[in-house]
Every structure is written in structure tokens, then in C-alpha cells.
């Protein structure tokens, strides 16, 4: 990157640039200089065109900002289905250009965002609009804008700021075959994540014009953010809880959704927060997907995090906040922010039932489709769901140290809130006990995240190669997602009969059968066993909680 030193670029330099541009254009356009003082007859200046990207969710379309000088009062008028932010762009661009030392014609400039049928939103259109206007005004040759896509917000002093969604916009630019993408310096690294795209980082409108016109050297392609592993808490800090550790390990290995039930303070969220540390790291492609969603909500990728994301929205989060929403073009919610990672819902029984039910379909499909009056956007939503709840309203049911003050019918009603379709998608139920005093003060007794992660990695590799051999599509190769018929082929007939008997003896529904099989398959993967056997099934059965009333 070579940010242009402003001291070097005087107004006089700019005049040179301007006159050069005018000369070139003037020859091809009746010999008139559009940048000269305005008159109605000069309305027929050159038609300038700069590329831009209109994002709808994560997907984008190439649009062109076409600018032309027209007769009328001095103003910039933007047409082509702009939203409020894009319409405001007119004032930013006007002042930004003038304060950068570019004179604009004392007449009307019309900017059309074509095709006009696509809705444009956000401040990212400032830069393409400004470049088109400047070219129309003769400060830049229209040919300099050939194959250029620009995105960025223009400040009133001509400085450029990155706009949300630069990464998906860059992806779109490469897809449509744009040669160069001009972006503000602060988001240049993010755009550079897209390979095969010539990213031009610029600090101000003057820089942008100078670079495009070739008067200063094009800055070097910015370095994309380094892949890093975010620091997460280690499993070694968790005392006791052998049962829950085992459960978390199985969940990580099979990608299973988890329900944790236990009294307050027993370590539910502590365990959940350590799950990303034992999950396999993301591939660069997966990390890009995560970064793209972050980019949409305006988080600039300063590094490329290979750890699965962890999102823990508060239990009062609205449905729109969780799955995404908003008018016009829906924005991604916490669910999509947790894509390829862990979505942790603490105190899940305090979350309204309707909000939880909204998660069902996205969990099943791995993506969430949000339809609004003006758009239909799809955000990715392949998450591992971890929900935590107290066992009863007072929180102490099953505790040996503190008596539970709830009546059994209250407990039943409380737990009943969780039953239903969402619970059906949660394969693994874990009961947690409060940790006793001597375990708390005693020496650390558990394994580190790294040791567990190694086993998880191995189990996942085993599963992935097995499902790959069985022609399961690439994104459904977790035991959680594989369809039941395929799953049954890898569990011994004896074990299946045993499971059927147990399901009947314990009075469970037939749907439980397949969920137990999934967990048994993962347990067998952890044990590096080709065929899941009776022991694996027996253990899997124990990860089902009776959520009904006490059976007394």
C-alpha cells in the first residue's frame, strides 16, 4: 500500500490532472470542457460509469453508477432505487469532492444506479458515485473507470471509510469478472481475502482519482489478514464434571446439539464456552464464510479467525435478533453469526417458546431464509446448538446440598416448556451436579482442551471418510446430519435390537431411536470402532433425560 502523502499533492497538481482529463475528453466530445463554469448548453458532457456492488444479504449484483451532466440547478441527483443512505450520498459526494479540491459543474449531475430495478442500500455507494461524478466532470477519464468496482463511504473532507459488507462485495466483484476493486484502506485487508482480485487501497478521494488516472503509482495489493487461532478458555480449568466432559466431547465429535441441565453455578456456561476449543478448527474457506457474515454486520476482519465462533445471546433476545430480521433487507441474527460455530442459549426456559421454535427449520436446513417485502435473503446457519437450563424453577432439584422448593407439578410444567420440536433436535442431554468443595480446592483433575480436541479431530476424520465413501454430500458429513437409513447400516443389528428394546422398556417415542443411534455412532467413532455395538448404544441411551415429571 502506498498511501498518498497529502503534502505532496497540491492543488496545482490536481489542476494538471484535471486539465489532462479535460483535454482527453474534450477531443472526443465536441471540444467542450465540462469542468469549466456551467451553462445549460454544456449539459452534454461525457457519460461516466463506475462499477459498484448492490448486496442483498451475502449475495451481490454488479451495478453501475452512471453519471452525466444535465441541465438544471447545481445538485447531484441519484436515481435507480436508492434507499435513504444512498440518497444522502449526494451531499457527501458533493462536499467530499469540493473539499478535495475538485470543482463540480454549476449544474445538475444525474447519477443513475443501473440496473434500476435492484434496491441499493448503505453508504458503500458513495465512492462509485463520486468516481462517476468526477469522471463526468472531467477530472478523470471515463476509460480509467473501465473494469473498476468501488465501494466505500466518502467523508465530507474526501476521506474514505470502509462500508459494511466489503468482503461479500469483493466476492461478487471477482465473480462478475471485475479487474480492480477500489476500497478504503481500513477494509482493504478484508477485500484482499478474495483471491484473484486486484484490490486497490486508497485513503481519500484524491488518492483514488490519482491512482486511477495513473498519476501516482498504484499501491501494492494489501496483505490479507493472517489466519489466527483466537484464545479460548481451556477445558483443564473445569473441576470434576466427568460426566459433562464426556458429553461435551461426544457432542464435539458428532456435532450434536446439546442440552445441559443443572443448578445455577454448576458450570454449564463454563463448559459451553470451552466447546470451540475442542472443535476442529475452521478451514480457510469456512473462516471466510464466517468473516462474510461478520462483514455484513459491520465487523471489519482484521484477522482471519480459524476458531469456530461462539455466540451467547441473552435469553431476552428477540426472534429477529436470534434468526435475523429487519425491514427492507433482513440482517443476520445471532444464529448466522454463530455459523460454523456454537450458539449457546443459557436459561433457555426463559426464552419464549415462539423464539425457540423459530430455530427449528434453520437448524434442519443449515441456513435461514428471511423473506421481506423487498427482498429474500439467505444467511448460512450451520451451528451447533448448546442450550442450558435449570432443572426446576428454584434451580436446586436433584441437588444433595440444597433442598428443592418446587412442587413436582411446577417442575413438570417448567420442563414442559422445553419439550416439543426443538427438543427433538437435541441429541444429547447432560445432567450437571454442583461441584463439591473438595473437588473445587483440589488439584486440577481433567484433561486439557488439546488432548480432547485431538480425539475429536480423529473421530471426525473417521466419520467424514466413512460418509464420504457412502456418497454423503460434503456439508452433511457430521453424524448429526446423516440421514437415519445410512446411519443404521453402520450400527450392528444386535445393538439396534437392544436399543429398540430399551426404547420400549423406558417408554420413549420411536423418534428417540434414531437420536440414540446417532449418539451411539459418535461414541463408536471416538472408540475408533467401525460398527457401533451394544456398549456404545447403552451409553448413548443414558444421554436422554426424562423431561417429564419425577417417575417416583
Amino acid at each position: 500500500m502506498t498511501p498518498v502523502d497529502e503534502a505532496d499533492l497540491t492543488v496545482a497538481d490536481l489542476q494538471v490532472v484535471v486539465s489532462d482529463g479535460t483535454g482527453a475528453d474534450g477531443a472526443s466530445d465536441d471540444g467542450r470542457a465540462p469542468a469549466a463554469s456551467g451553462s445549460a448548453r454544456r449539459a452534454r458532457g461525457p457519460l461516466a460509469r463506475a462499477g459498484a456492488v448492490a448486496l442483498t444479504g451475502l449475495s451481490g449484483d454488479l451495478v453501475h453508477a452512471e453519471a452525466a451532466i444535465a441541465a438544471g440547478l447545481p445538485q447531484i441527483r441519484i436515481v435507480g432505487l436508492p434507499d435513504a443512505a444512498v440518497r444522502e450520498s449526494a451531499d457527501r459526494v458533493r462536499l467530499g469532492c469540493q473539499r478535495s479540491g475538485f470543482s463540480l459543474p454549476e449544474t445538475k449531475v444525474v447519477v443513475n444506479l443501473a440496473p434500476a430495478g435492484i434496491r441499493k442500500s448503505g453508504p458503500g455507494f458513495d465512492l462509485p458515485v463520486a468516481l462517476a461524478v468526477l469522471a463526468a466532470a472531467g477530472h478523470l477519464a471515463p476509460a480509467d473507470l473501465d473494469g473498476v468496482v468501488a465501494m466505500g463511504e466518502v467523508g465530507l473532507d474526501g476521506h474514505l471509510r470502509g462500508a459494511a459488507g466489503t468482503l461479500p462485495a469483493a466476492t461478487t466483484a471477482r465473480r462478475v469478472g471485475a479487474g480492480r476493486m477500489v476500497v478504503p484502506i481500513d477494509v482493504a485487508g478484508e477485500a484482499a481475502l478474495v483471491e484473484g482480485l486486484d484490490v486497490v487501497p486508497v485513503g481519500s478521494l484524491r488518492d483514488a482519482v490519482a491512482v486511477l488516472a495513473g498519476t501516482i503509482a498504484c499501491p501494492a495489493r494489501p496483505r490479507p489478514p493472517e489466519p489466527v487461532q483466537r484464545d479460548v478458555d481451556d477445558l483443564v480449568d473445569v473441576r470434576g464434571q466427568a460426566l459433562a466432559r464426556r458429553g461435551i466431547e461426544i457432542a464435539a465429535a458428532g456435532g450434536h446439539h446439546v442440552l445441559m441441565m443443572g443448578p445455577p453455578g454448576c458450570g454449564k456456561s463454563m463448559l459451553a464456552r470451552r466447546l470451540p476449543g475442542i472443535l476442529p478448527g475452521l478451514t480457510p474457506a469456512e473462516a471466510l464464510e464466517v468473516a462474510a457474515v461478520r462483514s455484513i454486520v459491520g465487523v471489519v476482519a482484521t484477522d482471519l479467525d480459524l476458531r469456530p465462533p461462539f455466540r451467547a445471546p441473552h435469553h431476552a433476545t428477540s426472534t429477529a435478533g436470534l434468526i435475523g430480521g429487519g425491514s427492507g433487507v433482513a440482517r443476520p441474527g445471532e444464529l448466522s453469526r454463530a455459523h460454523r460455530g456454537v450458539l449457546f442459549l443459557d436459561e433457555v426456559l426463559e426464552t419464549p417458546r415462539s423464539t425457540l421454535d423459530a430455530l427449528r427449520e434453520p437448524l434442519e436446513r443449515g441456513e435461514v431464509v428471511l423473506v421481506r417485502s423487498q427482498s429474500r435473503v439467505t444467511y448460512p446457519a450451520r451451528v451447533q446448538l448448546v442450550v442450558a437450563a435449570n432443572p426446576c424453577p428454584c434451580g436446586h432439584a436433584g441437588s444433595s446440598s440444597r433442598p428443592c422448593r418446587c412442587r413436582p407439578d411446577q417442575v413438570a410444567r417448567y420442563r414442559g416448556r422445553l419439550s416439543g420440536p426443538l427438543l427433538d433436535r437435541i441429541d444429547l442431554h447432560l445432567e450437571l451436579e454442583p461441584v463439591s468443595e473438595d473437588v473445587l480446592v483440589g488439584p486440577s483433575d481433567g484433561e486439557s482442551s488439546a488432548a480432547v480436541a485431538a480425539r475429536v479431530r480423529q473421530a471426525r476424520d473417521v466419520a467424514a471418510s466413512r460418509w464420504a465413501a457412502a456418497d454423503v454430500p460434503g456439508d452433511r458429513r457430521l453424524n448429526r446430519d446423516v440421514d437415519p437409513a445410512r446411519l443404521r447400516q453402520t450400527v450392528s443389528a444386535t445393538a439396534q435390537r437392544r436399543l429398540a428394546r430399551a426404547v420400549q422398556a423406558l417408554g420413549w417415542s420411536a423418534r428417540t431411536f434414531d437420536r440414540c443411534l446417532r449418539v451411539a455412532r459418535t461414541i463408536a467413532d471416538l472408540a475408533a470402532s467401525d460398527v457401533a455395538g451394544a456398549d456404545h448404544v447403552d451409553e448413548a441411551i443414558a444421554y436422554r433425560l426424562d423431561t417429564g415429571p419425577r417417575s417416583t
Binding site: 444433595s400 433442598p403 413436582p408 456398549d535 451409553e539
Partner: protein, 368 residues
Amino acid sequence: MSDDWTAVAAAGTDPLRLARVVARAVADRRGLEAGWRTARRAGRSGSEAIGDVLSAPVLVDDGAGAVARSWAAAGVRVALAGDPSMPTRLERHDVVPPWLAMTGDLGMDRRAVAIVGSRSATPYGTGMAAWLAEAAGDAGVRVVSGGAVGIDAAGHQASLARPGGTTVVLGCGHGVAYPRPHATRGGLFDRVGASGGAVISESLPTDPARPHRVRSRNRLIAALADAVVVVEGGERSGSLITASWAADLGIPVLGVPGDVRATGSAAPHHLLRDGAAVCAGPADLLAAVGQGLDPSATTDDDRDRGVSGLPRWLRVPLVEAWPRPLPTATLVDGSGRRAGEVLAAVTRAQVGGLVTRDADGIRLCRRP
């Protein structure tokens, strides 16, 4: 209309008299109850008191037919005071209601114990109630209770399908679904009916559960039993009302000692302080009703049957905890084995019917 009354009248009850008593109750409940109390205080017998009630004219009898139809639809039979179907104990203890609606067999030929306690029960309480009820049921002793959640439910549940059988005394009408978890299809009341137990009520079918009605039915629980045991209850527990009725009627009262720190131990400890007998196991309870433990239920074979299928490391802690449940996590941490291995063993025991597992943990199904 008279067809309905014929269907509803219990053996030995005159359908027309029943129809008129209920019509009176529907038209003027307070008048009937006041008249009933006056007659009983004057020393009139059940059938004489019914005669007194009927001597007052019934001006309006709207709704009595609906009552009959509602009872008939639920398969309920109704006996009037003084009729042969009315349990004689109620008459003897002078607590007989004007009528008694019932389903199933009351099993009045057997001895009976009332196992009562609070709705908010601890695992210890439900475990004790279940233990006592199992032993009583096996010894051919009837278990009577109020059909509420908690201790009552544990007692009823454990005595199902045992020789003694069980009787539920409702605090509301037969047509009212209360408590809801028990009144649903396949709930406790259905299972009591299916196992031949009785569900009785002194209310009209649509009478909702009200505090006075629930308290008043406690006198029936006491009077139907030969001994009352209070398992768990707070300071103001309804089980104390049952106990004081029993004391008034000369029926032995027992209390199960509990954890002195737990609020649920207040009621039994209060009774023990006032001279109730200690119930430290089924033997105490059965001795109070003059019946020994059923020898067949305590043979060595049976003891073996309870735990023989369990590995030693699993058996020992469960036997130690019994009758309390052992939290699963405690079992895993205490066994020193891998969590997966412990869970697999628990599942096998559960499927084999040796242990039950619920929100409180794992418990042996039978006394070790």
C-alpha cells in the same frame, strides 16, 4: 332421567331418594349442609339424617339430571348415608357425608393405612412414601391418600397392582381434572382405576378443588384408615389436619423422621413431639395396623432379585443411598470409572428394571 339415577345408585341405594338428595344439594347446598350437621349433632343415624334432609321441600331441581348424567358418564356409583354401600367406618367414626361418589372397589374388608404428606416433596420423602406403600401393598394393606402430587402420588403409585390396592380421596368432584397431571388420560387416576383401586369423592361432579373442600376430605382419609402416617410436610401442611382428625377419631398417627434442617420435616417432627409414633420403616407402620410384614416380600430371594444384576461398584453406592436416589453425576465421580462405562451400566440396569432414573437421579426399584 330416572335411568341415569338407576345407573348411578350404588347397590342398596334407592335411586329416587338419591335423586332428591342431590336435587336438594344442587338447589340449596348450604341449607342441606346445615340441616345435615344439626341432624348428626342430634345423634341421628345416617339414614335418619337423610330422611330429615328430604323432609324439607325442594322448590327448584334444575341441574340434578345433569349431575346424574355426569356421574353416569364417568362410571361413578353413589351411595347415600346409611346405605349398605357406604363404608361403615365413616358412620362409626361419625364423619359420614350425605352421599359418597366412587369408582372401583373400596376394599373395605382389608386393613388400610393413610400415607399423607406435602405436595412439594423431596426425593427422600417420595422414596419413603413409596417404600412404605410398597410394603403395605405387598402385605395386603390398603393405601389411602388424597391423590395430590408429591407424597400422595408416590404412595398411590407404589401400591398400584399390589394385593392391598389403593384408594384416592378426591378434594373435588369426579368431573374436575385436578390435579391436572394425575387427571389426564393415562395419568395416575386412570392407572388407579385400571389396577382396581378406588377414587372417591363427597362432592358433586363439577365441584372445583377449594381449600375448605380439600381440608374437609382429609377427615375421610383419616376415617378410612387404621393408621395415618405423615411422611413430609411443612409447618402448615394439610397432612396435619388429617393427623388431628385421626387423633380425634382414635386412629394411631405415625410420623416419618426427616432431615432436621429441611422445612419439609416440620409436620412429622411436630407430630412426633406431640406423641405420634415413630415410623422408621414399613415394620413400624404395619405393626400399627396389627399386621406383620408379608414374609414373602422379605425373603432372601427377593433381596437378591433386587440388585443381583448390578456390578458391585454400582450396587454399593445405590444400596447406600437407598431409598434416596443417587444423582448420576455423583455416581460417575464416585465410581472412578469412565463416564461412558458407568452410563452404559446404568442403562442396562434401567432396561432390566433394576433401577429407575429421573430428575433426582438413580434409585433402586426395590428395597435392597
